[in-house]
Symmetry: D2
Subunit: 344 residues, 4 copies
């Protein structure tokens, strides 16, 4: 077999032996690929209920992971230091709890540990599958919770919508400047995940675009929670749209401020806030999705339009920074590694 199939040789002992659970979905498969190429992580198992027995590089030839998917057997989780869990909301919590019992460090891609208010969780997702762990996770957005993530045992990785929205608005929210915000979010089809039937058929999405979940999307309370945590406890209008492309998430944010701000001031504020962030780049024109595809980068542009609103645009790759590479970014911090290792 070609050498491509060889995992990158590690320099010395790996920092962690890693399991990816739910590796047959889009984000799980990508997480496996990133761990596979990571210089200090060893990918020791990838699991899937639906595709057990299949090699991942057969399911996704574009990812070069020559491991076979197996069914997760929690009774046999040995020699695993860390896990990325890519399960659906609801299904994730019990699996995460079982892994945590075995002292496995977990980066969870589901929504199960993102919310801090139990009632809100139950309204949107139903009963929680591991109530004893509710609220125990650090929110997996390194740009906001870097210190809390260092050494943490459980991180709740935000999805693409909160990631893009919060990064677009954080510098304003931290100053308590936001009075009201509309977020018009646009995402590629990979965000809808595998399955989807007719709705995600090529013929349905080709040359198409539309809004969905217009009456209320469960990421709205999560975005409000994080803006409030930063300093701006404000109502958010959030509407997601689907675009005819594979990977990408563009958040167009329209904010009324408590007091006016000039274009120069707000651009300086953003430049300063993100000066030290290696994965957030403040750019000088509205970012395009192609600029960030297949990267952990977030490009942000902020300006003030004629009518006085602040406009903030952020572009990420929805399955990278909006999911899988962000999970590895967090895992790096949790394991004491360099935050960007394996991501550049």
């Amino acid at each position: 077999m070609p050498e491509l199939d060889q995992q990158q040789p590690l320099a010395g002992a790996p920092a962690a032996r890693v399991l990816v659970a739910g590796a047959s979905g889009f984000t799980g498969a990508l997480a496996a690929q990133i761990v596979w190429r990571h210089p200090q992580l060893e990918l020791v198992a990838i699991t899937s209920r639906s595709d057990a027995g299949t090699r991942l590089d057969r399911l996704y030839p574009r990812y070069r992971v020559p491991l076979e998917l197996t069914e997760l057997d929690l009774g046999r989780v040995e020699g695993i230091d860390a896990a990325i869990v890519a399960y659906p909301h609801g299904a994730s919590a019990p699996a995460v709890a079982a892994l945590r019992e075995r002292d496995v460090i977990v980066a969870d891609l589901s929504a199960d540990f993102r919310l801090r208010d139990r009632e809100t969780y139950e309204r949107w997702y139903g009963e929680h599958g591991a109530p004893e762990l509710f609220g125990a996770a650090v929110y997996g957005l390194a740009e906001m919770y870097r210190e809390e993530l260092r050494g943490a045992k459980l991180a709740a990785i935000p999805g693409c919508y909160p990631t893009a929205s919060v990064l677009a608005l954080a510098p304003l929210a931290e100053k308590g400047l936001i009075a009201d915000v509309v977020i018009d979010a646009k995402q590629g089809v990979s965000g809808a995940g595998r399955g989807g039937g007719d709705a995600m058929h090529y013929v349905t999405m080709d040359e198409n675009a539309f809004a969905y979940k217009t009456e209320g999307h469960r990421h709205r309370p999560e975005i409000e929670q994080e803006l409030a945590a930063l300093g701006s406890n404000v109502p958010v209008t959030f509407v997601p749209h689907l675009l005819p492309l594979d990977q990408g998430e563009l958040a167009s944010c329209y904010a009324q401020l408590i007091e006016p701000i000039s274009k120069e001031e707000v651009q300086a504020l953003y430049a300063e806030r993100y000066a030290g962030e290696r994965f957030v780049r403040v750019v000088d024109r509205p970012p395009g999705l192609r600029d960030v595809r297949d990267t952990n980068d977030c490009h942000v542009y902020v300006t003030v339009e004629e009518r006085g609103r602040v406009l903030a645009f952020s572009a990420i790759d929805n399955i990278w920074k909006g999911a899988s590479s962000q999970a590895v970014q967090c895992l790096n911090l949790m394991l004491g590694l360099d935050e960007g290792m394996g991501l550049e």
Copy 2:
């Protein structure tokens, strides 16, 4: 030659002999195609400076118009009853004036006659090329100005952004209900027109999406003008985006109202307002661009989201209802024909 190349035989004498000026651009070529197939209009000339000498069905094989493009010679405009002018902003006004002097009925696709405030025009477009005609046109949105269009001699056809935005908001604006509105508009690449160089190269736009003209777009004052004319004199935040598809325009409108309204009330308001409109359909879920491609239709969905904002979404084909077929819709009214003739 195949019969496809034969113009539809007219039933009796044509209602009008039509010229399309600027027929080598996307909207001009489509206008030529629609006139060509129209049962009561006769396409007698198509003109273009850049492509004179070329047959239109060679330039655009998907349009079946076997006429040769010629240079417009205003001194020889004889036997022409009506014209659709698809010139760039600024270049249009003098040509329209010359045609009007020869008593040709004109549907103008440029912005030159849309605005009613001269100062606003000059701010965004520069000096006007036919000041004596400024303000003389009827705004070419049949759903708002139907009676004025009947028998009119000059119509200023709105572009896709104002068309989609005004149709999305008109029922609220007419009641004077709107306090403030954000319009996040998304458009296919055909909206950028021919040319464009690198920016519109397939490789640039493929898998891409981004906002543009975020500091101020010249369609914003036009939308404000029309909302005010309907009854809601309010500031508009308007941001256009480009999507990786050919034809389509989606306006996502976020309106704060002067007083709250329920989802049922607002949906009833829209249903009633558009009940008699054959080209506007109030739909029961957010419309997709594929639903309206290659048609003169506008699909509108309205709802109220959790935070109390009214959301209105409209989808049109940007070069049909947002330009060329809307011009024919207006021409039909101006000529006393059935409004939908040749459009269904």
Copy 3:
């Protein structure tokens, strides 16, 4: 409701009352749409097992057919003169037989009646579901079997691959000139039909292209049958590919001839052969799929390359001329109507 929802008023009594069976698939839905707009056909019923109870314009908003899909009840087929059957291969034959027993004229989109050799049919499709009718159909390619189709009761409409391939090669085949042919066929995703799961997910097909069924495709014997019927009994190498677009079928044909021919001669041969065909246009450069989208047209280009092979390229819309509009073209002939009625 908008007038768009009204069926085109017929001029006088309809020529036929038409049923479309299997109208929830891509080709059945399009057939329903074409019949709906046809000036002399009345669409009286559309049926579907999987989507019974749904209105077709909800399932496919881009088609404007406001009828509800029902389950086909062959015991209640009354007042139906003609049917377009869009069932899967195998399932079609018994339904067609039942309709024929009730004297309904049938245009069948499946492969069940296309082949003339029973053994070949069984090899590729299994047991035939209506052996008494095997061989009873006229092959539904009007350009080859026009006279046989007039007044016929059962037509076997060829799919997009044989349609494009045979039209590309017919002028040569009729002269008995072909010695050997390679057909490299490329098709949009609509050709794979609804369903398809992961394989037809937007994410799978986006930015992708590949060959499939490389060891043998069941359309190969059908193409060989038709070339032989025209005069060239030769082996065909046929390989289909899938492209990242919705509608379109491009057949690139590489023919060795029995004797050399010049580019001028072969182009003259094609021009002459297709001079009277309104839906086949011999063009002077290789045709593009966009040129024929949403039409019943076939564009053909023929040339001779440096090494002496004749190259013939044909482009059609795979679900129009490659299926649904071709069925209506045949139905027109079967019913004694103008061949192109409702198709231009």
Copy 4:
């Protein structure tokens, strides 16, 4: 500025200081990006006539090269060990000659040094710009000329069509088995390069596909030259097509053999031939373009179809393995580095 902008620190002194000339085109820009990230190459200059003064990461934000494009001044080529030249055919030869005079090692992406027969070159490309160097280059396909490339000073990197075609057919050609071959090649729009005007506008290519240069393409003699060099001096029919996607090249090859071969035999032959090649993978189903996007990989599938022809399919990324990453693969060999360095 983010650390992303920092070039990868080199481990010790760089193996070579590299210039990329013509770095504002698609392949030059990608070459710059690959060199930028290469662990043993130092990117010291990137040049462009048309875009001098612009930073490359502004022209192509997706590439993270923060260097400014400058005009190439051959009088000031100092401290440069190696160059990748991405000039148009014809323009390349004199620049390459000047670089070679200064003892710069060159990987040339143009066709200027690929052909070995001067007359053939002149027929397709006109007069040669550096006749003294004609024939002096090693053909830059490492899988065929690995030993010759080690230590070579000038490599003529084949384009995507010959690369994909020769890799698809080499195992057969080396055995002298091929009697005749048809190559139907399909390429994404990036292959057409920047510029292109209307022809490469998003609107032109969207939902489109077509053949071009059907009467003779200049890559045909190059493919014939290389098949002959391998052992099969046979005429090639070669037809390129353009597909609606960005990056990718699929060669579908239809070969008549001198003697029959079974599917098992031919698959064993390919498996054996490519067993040691790290960038060629023999796969067990027809390869898709997505499988190889953004990689230096070539996926090959071979089989025998019912009529006895051997079918060989190869997929590469046209601007990676078909141009820029292949240039770096060759440069690695020329410089004595590991062949795959910086490419995995």
